[in-house]
């Protein structure tokens, strides 16, 4: 039978983004990230890059590897493929150094995105679009102070991931209360839910939960319900579920670093550089965040999160 509610039938027909298309010569740009498989955040980055690529008549080669040596190899492969520009993330700067320098030496313009702004210039990249993980973390800490919270837990969903550790470290730095890290398994949401529920039961005085991505935030919200805790939930990044939960106040606020912009601007930046030798930001890092999103913004954002552009 048919569902009378929800589903595709209830979707607004989203208006097509992008109108015209540049008539400049076709160029090929490789984008190499340290994303894992099927990650919402990186999907948004990629969407931004694709829209810019479509507009600028660019062929975009997106690849990703969450292991340092794998990502470095991908950059070298891009160099071998003689692309016209490379966009790379610097989450593991030391590991990427040699590969990026090789690209620069080969005369390929490089843009860096996401974290690692302090290394961008040193490695010879043209520009950097992103947000420092620790800065974003600090923003969360400050917001929690404002909300009068005393004890927070920070959910690390991938052990040993530098960016996640930096986010928690940032929270710790500005938050006046106590912060404790909790390891959860990012690929196992029932497991996340059970672990967070356990932590909330064991440490009853916890009054804030910091999730480091949107999917973990949903699991944390369920765990909070299960444990009957009053803790407020803060999260990094957005998805439709988090936006819905923002609207219903289940999630207090989210830190958005506007990943769409990182992808979009990097591609556009390379195009501009080729066409006009422009450098966005004049060589200094361009920050795309952190922006704090609360329930008030939720209504307006819903449409975009559904399309995976916010």
């Amino acid at each position: 039978g048919c569902s009378s509610s929800g589903g595709k039938g209830s979707e607004d027909k989203a208006e097509e983004t992008g109108g015209g298309k540049a008539n400049t010569a076709r160029m090929t740009i490789a984008m190499v990230t340290h994303s894992g498989q099927g990650d919402t955040f990186w999907d948004i980055v990629k969407n931004g890059a694709e829209v810019a690529a479509g507009k600028d008549n660019v062929k975009l080669l997106y690849t990703n590897d969450d292991k340092a040596d794998g990502q470095a190899q991908l950059v070298e492969q891009a160099v071998n493929q003689k692309v016209d520009g490379i966009i790379v993330t610097l989450a593991k700067p030391d590991a990427m150094k040699a590969a990026v320098e090789k690209a620069v030496a080969a005369g390929i313009p490089v843009m860096t995105i996401n974290s690692g702004s302090q290394f961008s210039k040193e490695f010879g990249a043209l520009a950097h679009f992103g947000q420092e993980e620790s800065v974003a973390g600090e923003a969360v800490g400050e917001q929690l102070n404002e909300d009068g919270r005393k004890k927070a837990i920070c959910l690390i969903h991938e052990q040993g991931n530098v960016s996640l550790e930096e986010r928690c470290a940032g929270v710790k730095k500005t938050f006046k209360g106590e912060v404790e890290n909790v390891q959860v398994e990012g690929t196992n949401r029932p497991g996340v839910e059970a672990a967070v529920e356990a932590k909330l039961t064991a440490a009853k005085d916890t009054d804030a939960i910091v999730a480091l991505n949107a999917d973990i935030a949903s699991a944390a919200a369920k765990a909070k319900e299960g444990a009957g805790s009053e803790a407020e939930i803060a999260t990094f990044d957005l998805n439709s579920d988090v936006v819905a939960r923002l609207a219903s106040d289940e999630v207090a606020f989210a830190v958005d670093q506007q990943p769409y912009l990182q992808g979009y601007l990097a591609v556009d930046g390379l195009w501009l550089h080729k066409q006009n030798l422009n450098v966005i930001g004049g060589g200094r890092p361009v920050l795309t965040g952190p922006a704090i999103v609360t329930g008030d913004d939720a209504e307006a954002l819903k449409k975009f999160t559904d399309r995976a552009t916010r």
Binding site: G1, G7, D43, Q159, N181, A198, A202, D241
Partner: protein
């Protein structure tokens, strides 16, 4: 079960052996010792551990629902690396079908059952047709599914996670079947625990009391010998993969109906947990020996340890270290107790 027949009781070649010793020689009951040790340990070190047994049981059940069919498969001598991502695939299918067709979610649930069974059949059929080792066949499907989960979701839903179906027709009835919570006393028991117990009972029945069970033990313990006496080896193996598919379907539906949204990259790595639970519970990796109850106890040990470490509030950086050490200790203890029991009797 393990009483001897008729006159054998008076056989001078049989040394008397107390009940405890006999019980301990059963694969599942041996591992119970390990489970009890973990339980006692965490009850003593973690305050809220005992009172939060409902969460612990929930964590155990989400592993256990898959550990049971995976254990049967292992007893049948095969391996399934694709089990973890199959759960995600199953959830994705029902979510996408329901959403895209704007149909009652039960339609999606049924289509998902068919698709999941088809993937299980593909695994089994490829295995018996090609004679390749199951490790390589299911590694192939594991990688393919991992890619297809993301690729298809992007293709269909434009994002890497599915659209929410919480507001669709049938959702609440499906949720009550796959993801409801039953309040019993101060405990909030998840319905997955019932599914789990049901699966354990069913698998035990199959293994101990049906012809299929006899065949499973035989193809795992000696495939050539089994074939030689007329056991339908191929059908048995395909059946085992279908069993894993059913488990994945239940787990997948639980995932979908407890969260409403599915992340397409989830599930990777969980296959190892299922296999580990089965092995901790006494299943032989090489096949031919093990039990469903054992797998359930293994899942219980796994679940208790994972939760217990959090309740005990040990340093999170060392979480995996403690988990590994506890699992090893529990299994060692169990092996040691069994050896003692054998020697003492």
């Amino acid at each position: 079960m393990s009483t001897t027949l008729t006159k054998a009781a008076g056989d001078e070649r049989l040394v008397h052996r107390p009940l405890a010793g006999r019980l301990l020689s059963r694969p599942e009951l041996g591992s119970v010792i390990g489970a009890i040790a973990v339980l006692v340990f965490f009850s003593a070190t973690a305050d809220s551990f005992l009172s939060s047994m409902d969460t612990v049981l929930y964590a155990a059940s989400t592993i256990g629902i898959m550990a049971v069919p995976v254990a049967l498969l292992m007893i049948g001598g095969e391996f399934d690396l694709s089990a973890g991502v199959l759960v995600t695939a199953s959830a994705l299918v029902s979510s996408m079908v329901s959403y895209q067709l704007t149909a009652n979610v039960w339609t999606g649930v049924l289509v998902s059952l068919l698709v999941t069974l088809a993937i299980g059949f593909f695994n089994g059929y490829l295995l018996v047709r090609t004679g390749l080792p199951s490790f390589i066949v299911t590694l192939g499907t594991f990688l393919m599914l991992q890619g297809a989960n993301v690729g298809v979701t992007k293709l269909v839903d434009d994002t890497v996670s599915t659209k929410s179906i919480t507001d669709m027709q049938g959702f609440s009835s499906a949720r009550s079947v796959f993801a409801s919570t039953l309040g019993i006393g101060s405990w909030d028991l998840k319905v997955t625990i019932l599914w789990w117990i049901g699966l354990v009972a069913l698998a035990t029945w199959i293994l101990l009391r049906t012809r299929a069970g006899n065949w499973i033990l035989a193809v795992g313990g000696g495939e050539d010998a089994a074939r030689a006496v007329g056991v339908p080896v191929h059908r048995t193996k395909i059946g085992l993969y279908l069993g894993v598919a059913v488990g994945a379907w239940i787990s997948g539906q639980h995932l979908l109906f407890s969260f409403g949204v599915i992340q397409s990259g989830e599930g990777r790595g969980l296959e190892l947990h299922y296999i580990a639970a089965a092995v901790i519970g006494g299943c032989l990796l090489t096949g031919g020996y093990g039990s469903a109850v054992g797998a359930a106890v293994g899942a219980m040990i796994f679940g208790m340890t994972k939760q217990g470490i959090v309740y005990a509030q040990w340093d999170a950086d060392w979480f995996w270290f403690f988990l590994g050490a506890m699992l090893l200790l529990a299994t060692l203890l169990n092996a040691w107790v069994r050896k003692r029991a054998e020697a003492a009797k």
